[in-house]
Symmetry: C2
Subunit: 157 residues, 2 copies
DNA sequence: AGTATTTCTTGATGTACATCAATGCATAGG
DNA sequence: CCTATGCATTGATGTACATCAAGAAATACT
């Protein structure tokens, strides 16, 4: 585990990389995302304090995700091999599975408005820290659609 | 790890259950799914031979998934606590993370046709074993939409 | 501070998919 | 064997979102 500082905008991993490291965020904010075949970004995950950010590709296969820093960030870096030797943090792994399961369920069963409401409840601090278009990207909608949803929700009250 | 036989149609877990067991499929086919607030089913995962089927909810929280058998199935059952003691199968865990990451990426970045094509490539045997409406449910579309996609694809050739 | 760039919003239009309804087929159970 | 139930398909219509375009507002850059 090596501690490093990265500046906002720094790229930690590119699609196709084989290295496949694991980043434990101490402070700041990372994101992982993909770029689809139309060149559109889709945010896979935000990584604020205490989150673990990594591509879950199997060892020695090319990564599918970009990872970069949305803020100046302090991270602890390790290779997957190192982590496996040390005996990985099972609690963290289970939490991660839970998070991903929730994300899948959300994507499958809720419309954009509900996904947004769920997001604001689950990650109340993140929404203050990133542009709305990134929230839209995480939710799987366009910035325009998110703008309209927020508009509608604010009128209701 | 206790080995049990279940008949097609048997329900192994219900939403809200706290027990939260892990099922390792030896032969047959399980599925896990949710029911949304409109009463609609969404298949979360199919569990054929050698798959691990479980709700990834954190220990001692209520499950979000139903789990039942789509065929007569032989499974090994364990509680999460047991598995954690034994030292879990890390390779299986990593594979599971990879699967879920792929599922999320699919749901976010591909249209129904691409998701279907990806599914048929990735799980060629499952499509023969379940009704198409379940494939549709897994893909996040209606049976009607799937029917039209298949129609279109078969004409192309 | 002033300019450039990104971000957000609003409107008009388009489209992928859902919903609803009807029909033909297969399958299962008495 | 006959009937009931579930499954797949097709057509008509509806809708949630995307796309495109333009302008306003915020942010970053020199």
């Amino acid at each position: 585990m090596k501690k490093i500082n990265v500046k906002k905008g720094a790229v930690l991993q590119r699609i196709g990389d084989i290295s496949s490291k694991v980043f434990l965020v101490e402070s700041g904010l990372l994101r992982s995302y993909i770029i689809d075949d139309k060149g559109k970004e889709h945010i896979y995950m935000f990584g604020p304090e205490n989150w673990l950010v990594a591509d879950s590709c199997e060892p020695n296969t090319p990564c599918q995700l970009f990872i970069d820093a949305l803020e100046d960030t302090i991270i602890n870096v390790a290779t997957k091999e190192e982590l496996l030797k040390e005996g990985p943090d099972l609690t963290a792994l289970l939490k991660r599975l839970d998070t991903m399961q929730n994300r899948i369920i959300m994507l499958m069963s809720s419309n954009a408005k509900k996904r947004y409401e769920h997001f604001t409840k689950t990650y109340p601090n993140i929404i203050q820290r990133v542009p709305l278009k990134m929230v839209a990207s995480y939710l799987g909608i366009t910035p325009e659609a998110l703008s309209r949803i927020r508009n509608e929700l604010s009128k209701k009250k």
